[in-house]
């Protein structure tokens, strides 16, 4: 045991100076984010302009833009954070919020709710169906993966059973879609493309509560996620209850992603790429990575949504198309230069 002689008067943290996050970049980031968000509010179909808040039309437009901004922030941050957690727990750069079947499960639930007429009867049944089936799918995947292994399942069996269950769900969706009427088809496809039309206020509040508690949960686990990237065994030796961290992390991340899907549909790309870019820019320390990618992901989706509703107005492009088309090249550029600051090996 190293003796606890604290007689050194020097500031140890300062003395040691372990660099966890580049301060300059964080500053730039926090200056840029409010500017980008304000820009989103100004962006309209007629270019950059500020509608007169005195008129009722202007007021309505501003409210609508603001609500969509909030939706973008909520969904974008939820998907990004859940991507960060999945990548850490599965120790795999290909992991994303949908890897354990969240998208497949949510999609199946939503498709059934739309096609069997539940949605036209009670509109709220769509998010509820998507959410519950997403969470149910996680439990199914976890259960399948943990059969045959004592305790928590291995990372590989989790990924594999997630992929397989997702594939089965997609096939069921395709079957349902192929037998559906034209109108139902349109609704299903539109939902699956994802859009940020503001949900009812109550639903938004509930979702914000879910996503917020998910964030709090994974942030508490942040330093344990750092240790977990050294492998479950090493984390165990360090006195971390690795199985509990994995279980808790998966649960929080899935809850967050499922909530995002239930209000925004299946918006791809954000949950995969934002964690990578944030990690490349700010390093892999999860105590910083989680909040930073929440803010970064939310801003990214809000900006993409602002573009989606303005580029070829009055037609609205699905936001998932913008995230991939506009974000893809930009992020590839960053990753090319900075990848070695994110993943090694």
């Amino acid at each position: 045991m190293i003796k606890k002689g604290l007689h050194t008067g020097a500031q140890p943290a300062a003395l040691l100076g372990i660099r966890t996050v580049p301060a300059g970049r964080v500053t730039v980031f926090f200056v840029a984010v409010p500017m980008l968000l304000t820009l989103c509010l100004f962006l309209g179909p007629t270019g950059i302009g500020f509608p007169d808040p005195e008129t009722s039309i202007g007021k309505a437009v501003m409210t609508l833009r603001f609500n969509r901004l909030v939706m973008g922030l909520l969904v974008g941050s939820a998907l990004s954070v859940s991507g960060v957690v999945f990548q850490a727990i599965l120790r795999n750069p290909l992991a994303e919020p949908y890897v354990l079947g969240v998208s497949g499960g949510a999609g199946l639930g939503a498709t059934m709710a739309i096609l069997f007429g539940a949605v036209s009867a009670i509109p709220l049944s769509l998010p509820v169906a998507a959410f519950t089936s997403a969470v149910a799918t996680l439990f199914l995947v976890y259960w399948i993966a943990s059969r045959g292994s004592r305790g928590a399942p291995s990372v590989y069996s989790l990924i594999l059973s997630g992929v397989i269950v997702s594939a089965v769900c997609s096939s069921l969706i395709m079957f349902l879609v192929s037998t559906a009427s034209v109108e139902g088809l349109h609704n299903v496809i539109w939902w699956m493309l994802g859009n940020l039309q503001p949900a009812p206020l109550q639903q938004r509040l509930v979702s914000a509560l879910f996503i917020g508690s998910g964030f709090a949960g994974v942030w508490l686990l942040a330093s344990r996620l750092n240790a977990l990237t050294l492998g479950r065994e090493m984390a165990h030796y360090q006195g971390i209850n690795a199985d509990a961290v994995i279980m808790g992390g998966l649960l929080f991340a899935t809850l967050t992603a499922a909530t995002a899907v239930s209000i925004g549909g299946m918006i791809g790309f954000v949950g995969l790429i934002v964690p990578h870019v944030t990690r490349a820019m700010f390093g892999p320390d999860h105590r910083w990575l989680i909040p930073l990618s929440a803010i970064g992901g939310g801003t990214f989706l809000a900006v993409c949504d602002a573009c989606a509703r303005t580029v070829i107005a009055p037609v609205e492009v699905p936001v998932g198309v913008v995230t991939a088309l506009a974000g893809g090249p930009f992020f590839l550029l960053i990753l090319q230069r900075k990848m070695k600051h994110a993943w090694i090996g």
Partner: protein, 417 residues
């Protein structure tokens, strides 16, 4: 110094359907520097995992400083025992400093982060292992020795009272190996930290450790000072080969090495051995004989028998009979001719039935010709002929001067003469 640091009490442990540690009991006192040695697969790593509560013993108990390790909270367990695994990898680009910080994570609790006192410990352990200057370099880009020292710093930052290293230094070059060992010796001496070093290097273990624990097949085969454990009569049986133990005349250090003699000599100096085998019992014999420079012949074997395939693969001259048929006259005659050219005939622990009973006649002929004949003991248990004819034949052979063998090492020793 008198405190018991780690106690195994009649521990049985292992993996699904396979018990590795078999009724293991021993005690390590606080402040000891122990080297755990033994052949591959003898249970050293399993012992480490059981000690750190990664594996649950099927029976028995493991105690750390008098407390059962299973009932300890993870945080408290990590303050008692730290483990340095063989290799630690992180897929993400953490700096060495960030890696070492992980050592304090469990102790820092869920809600509060690292405190100043934690940073003091981190800094101290980084200075101890001389990695402070590496703090901003990426961990995965460091050399093997540097990585190992960073991991050691991380484990030291846990402030454990026992530290266990699982072959972590064996892949380092000699400079870095001794550097890590010096660090370990120092913390052992200065802080009474108990060190358990799993190692394959017997000479090195003798040099650094106060006490060696030699494991074999999940049991303890030797426990004591290096002089007490590193004795040829103990080691040969455990490692199943011949070893030489020498004392360095200058330093008194114990040096253990394998024996190469007879290996590079011309094969002509060696004898030709004819092996009577079957059912996979000959493979190890062919391999060993070939390794030590004997000329090997074998037969009669059935085609598709695993021995026949091994003989073919190893280039051993073999007489073969059709698959699944009794040995006929023609192959027997050939085998007899072959055995006639050999100086020694060895009968493996093959099962005997009516089909291959005739192979024992080769031994009779060899004995009659005044040759050395070795028969594996316990033939009666593998005798499937009516009226135990094989066992009777073997008894008769032994009465006439054939010798029995039970383990390969002794057989090799005798044959090399």
């Amino acid at each position: 110094m008198e405190n018991a640091a780690l106690t195994f009490d009649r521990v049985k442990a292992g993996y699904k359907g396979r018990i590795v540690l078999d009724d293991l009991s021993f005690q390590i006192r606080e402040g000891e520097f122990i080297s755990l040695i033994g052949p591959n697969g003898c249970g050293k790593s399993t012992l480490l995992k059981t000690a750190a509560a990664l594996l649950k013993p099927v029976e028995g108990s493991v105690c750390l400083f008098g407390k059962n390790v299973r009932s300890m909270r993870p945080v408290s367990r990590a303050r008692h025992i730290g483990v340095v695994p063989q290799k630690v990898e992180s897929p993400m680009a953490y700096t060495a400093g960030q890696i070492v910080m992980n050592g304090r994570t469990a102790a820092s609790g869920l809600l509060r982060g690292l405190r100043e006192a934690d940073y003091v410990v981190i800094e101290r352990s980084m200075i101890y292992t001389d990695v402070l200057y590496l703090k901003d370099r990426y961990f995965m880009e460091l050399s093997g020795g540097e990585q190992q020292r960073v991991i050691l710093a991380m484990v030291l930052a846990q402030e454990p009272r026992i530290i266990m290293l699982d072959e972590s230094i064996s892949h380092l070059d000699i400079n870095h190996r001794y550097e890590v060992l010096r660090i370990l010796k120092r913390i052992n001496r200065e802080q009474q930290m108990t060190v358990v070093l799993v190692s394959h290097d017997l000479s090195l273990s003798a040099e650094v450790a106060d006490r060696l624990i030699l494991m074999d097949n999940g049991r303890i085969a030797g426990d004591g000072t290096p002089e007490e454990v590193l004795r040829p009569d103990i080691l040969d049986g455990v490692y199943n080969c011949e070893l030489r133990v020498q004392n360095d005349p200058l330093t008194g250090a114990i040096h253990v090495s394998g024996i190469f003699e007879g290996f590079n000599d011309s094969p002509g100096k060696h004898k030709t051995v004819h092996v009577v085998a079957g059912g996979g019992t000959g493979i190890e014999l062919y391999r060993r004989f070939a390794l030590y420079g004997f000329r090997v012949t074998t037969g009669v074997l059935n085609k598709m028998d695993s021995d026949a395939e091994a003989a073919q693969a190893l280039g051993v001259d073999a007489v073969l009979e059709k698959p699944f048929s009794a040995v006929g006259d023609e192959p027997y005659r050939k085998a007899a001719e072959m055995a006639g050219k050999a100086e020694v005939l060895v009968v493996s622990d093959a099962p005997f039935g009516p089909g291959n009973l005739i192979n024992l006649r080769l031994a009779e002929e060899a004995l009659a010709a005044g040759k050395e004949v070795w028969i594996a003991g316990g033939i009666a248990e593998r005798d499937y002929t009516d009226g135990k004819q094989a066992a009777k034949a073997a008894e008769k052979l032994i009465a006439e001067g054939a010798r029995t063998w039970t383990n390969l090492r002794d057989l090799m020793k005798n044959l090399k003469g």
